[in-house]
Symmetry: C2
Subunit: 401 residues, 2 copies
């Protein structure tokens, strides 16, 4: 391995001065931008990424990478000036900056008004409840008395940061007032939510374009541990057709009512009483990675088509069942990128049909660094294959079950 190279060859900038096809800019340099870049290459459009660091996942792949800080309006403004449409691979751009960009005529998709509901969970709950969408009971809480009043003796209670959470961060399941007191001690604006005794978690992805065309993917079953999605099976095995259609209609209705342009991911609890909305995201989503191989149109291409106001692609499945398993960073003594690469040989030899997607991120415990996908007929068999592949990439042989 010889990463060093002479400086004799020029580092180049792609030519984009011909105003020929649209320029889509994505704020955020993570794996979602990295995989959107792959889809942009097929569409032959210009694609730019605003990354925080040249080491970011998307920065390593995308020719159209710009370095900047999404928390600074001037960096956002400079980035947007080179784009026809600006979209996002995360929901952490300050809302005030989004408003300012829109006032300046920048085409944000989704727009600031829609994105607000991914940045403010209280606003999201209030809005969805106002639409009659089933949500957990919720209340804004400021102190322990407020939490205890909300709980009314029924514990556990879920406390959530009103903004800024992801991958289980910013969500606390509190079994006692004492646990709640610790969370309150963080000093964050908090929301209390009913703990939902769900049968399983589902996720449904829909896309909506400025033309108001909508398309919903088959509903997936998602398996979460510690607030992080580990596995996705699509379509969700054994889901009643009526309930699947209900979930898809729900996603399309929320997308319409919230004026989402681009993708909307709706995470749901399936309970004995029906579907309850857990979280929303307005971008490609970890629970939709199965669509790369498992649907006619990947979620990344679909997001681009939606934000470009192109006709949406078919969300039809390409196989009876598709399973993805996330690869999480493991013990730092075992798993750097080189060590993980050396395990490719085993994973690929064991299953020549497994699709490996690695994000070029340095492994840290619990960090999503890749995913694997398998397609076929039998969910149990596919789950077994995907778990083995992901587990082996993550830890080594002994964790490969």
């Amino acid at each position: 391995m010889s990463p060093n190279e002479p400086a004799a060859l020029r580092i180049i900038e792609p030519v984009s001065g011909s105003a020929d096809v649209p320029v889509v800019g994505m704020v955020g340099g993570g794996q979602l931008a990295r995989m959107t870049c792959q889809a942009a290459i097929s569409l032959g459009i210009w694609f730019r990424v605003l990354a925080g660091s040249a080491a970011d996942s998307a920065a390593q792949a995308c020719a159209g990478t710009r370095l900047g800080n999404y928390r600074l309006l001037e960096d956002l403004r400079d980035f947007a000036a080179g784009c026809d449409v600006v979209t996002f691979d995360h929901e952490h751009v300050p809302g005030g900056h989004l408003d300012a960009l829109e006032r300046e005529g920048i085409q944000l998709r989704p727009g600031a008004a829609a994105l607000r509901f991914t940045q403010d969970k209280l606003a999201m709950r209030q809005r969805l409840s106002g639409l009659g969408v089933a949500c957990p009971a919720f209340a804004s809480v400021r102190d322990l008395a407020g939490v205890e009043q909300f709980a009314a003796g029924r514990w556990p209670v879920v406390l959530k940061a009103v903004s800024g959470g992801y991958d289980g961060k910013g969500v606390w399941v509190c079994h006692t007032p004492a646990e709640a007191a610790v969370v309150l001690g963080h000093g964050l604006p908090l929301l209390a939510e009913e703990y939902v005794a769900f049968d399983r978690e589902l996720a449904v992805l829909a896309a909506r374009s400025p033309h108001r065309q909508g398309a919903a993917y088959p509903v997936a079953h998602t398996e979460q541990r510690d607030g992080i999605c580990r596995e996705v099976v699509a379509p969700a095995p054994g889901l009643a057709p009526g309930r699947a259609a209900e979930a898809q209609q729900l996603a399309l209705r929320i997308a319409e009512q919230l004026d989402v342009t681009g993708l909307l991911a709706v995470e749901l609890f399936e309970t004995t009483d029906g579907l309850v909305v857990n979280e929303l995201a307005m971008r490609p989503h970890n629970t939709g990675h199965w669509t790369i191989e498992g649907a006619r149109t990947s979620q990344f291409e679909q997001h681009l088509r939606a934000v470009l106001d192109l006709p949406l692609g078919s969300p039809a499945p390409t196989a009876p069942v598709t399973v993805t398993a996330n690869v999480l960073g493991g013990d730092p003594d075992i798993g750097d990128r080189a060590a993980i690469y050396h395990r490719y040989a085993h994973v690929m030899a064991a299953n020549p049909a497994v699709k490996v997607h690695m994000y070029a991120k340095q492994p840290r415990p619990g960090r999503k660094i890749g995913h694997v996908t398998v397609t076929g007929d039998d969910p149990g068999d596919l789950l077994d294959r995907a778990r083995r592949a992901a587990g082996y990439l993550r830890w080594g042989k002994e964790d490969g079950q």
Copy 2:
């Protein structure tokens, strides 16, 4: 559309100093490198392209692009110094340079000895004939007397440039000595070949790794016009299973005997007497684009796996039939990139399942600027859909059949 942007944001160079995962370098900045870049992103490896211009198809997409001239040994050497493995998206690197790089310890895959058979068609014919592989009758010719002696009164005769041809360039079907005289007038080293009266043209792709693992894809039917591949149907409809297996075995055998590492594309004539080898290429190939959606492992991923000596991926099909149609540049008055982009709406609305792959190349008449792919059950229906989509992207509505 706003291609201009302020210079405030830094143009960045991907971080590749950590010697963590291998660096694959591909010489050539065309669409094959562009699509190989997409596969490299999934594998999480470092991928570099040596492009002649920042406007090259791959240069617009690939973060790891270097500008240089593949005809210059020093540019090749500088490029290779940053790579663990060097491979190619065309066969035009001078053979002497390949030899020199190998002597200096550069890992070329395929190696110079194998590549020679894609650069020198006379050497290819001699070698294949020596292996007992069915080829058209051939002879090196230097003058009209030589051509007439070869023809022995049976016209047409095919004249081919010994090196440098592609997409029908460098191939002439001569129906009379007068036509042959015109070709001889070009002053190129020429090969005369028997004109094969074929039933149809087939193509088979195989991969071979340094470990000597081999994998062959289903055999495709290719439809060529003016020496340019227009349509590919995979698997070839109605091909006898025994003949399909024969073609796959042939490709694997040639790959082994010629010590190919990476992909080998074998273009074949199917005749009433059996299979006859037409051309060889040692790289991803236009006749293999169907594998992006139509096979478990795309040819681009497979090439990377082979040159990295990773276990090869499954070449199994994902659908009963996959059809691709090339999009060729048309009348320059009609089709610049912007005009073609505006037709996306129609193509995508008419068929939400068609996959559009555009190469970000300026259209010139006859130039391959993209392809479309559809998968399904009925070859006739799929051909119709693919032709409509490609024809519409190419020319406009009136040519859309």
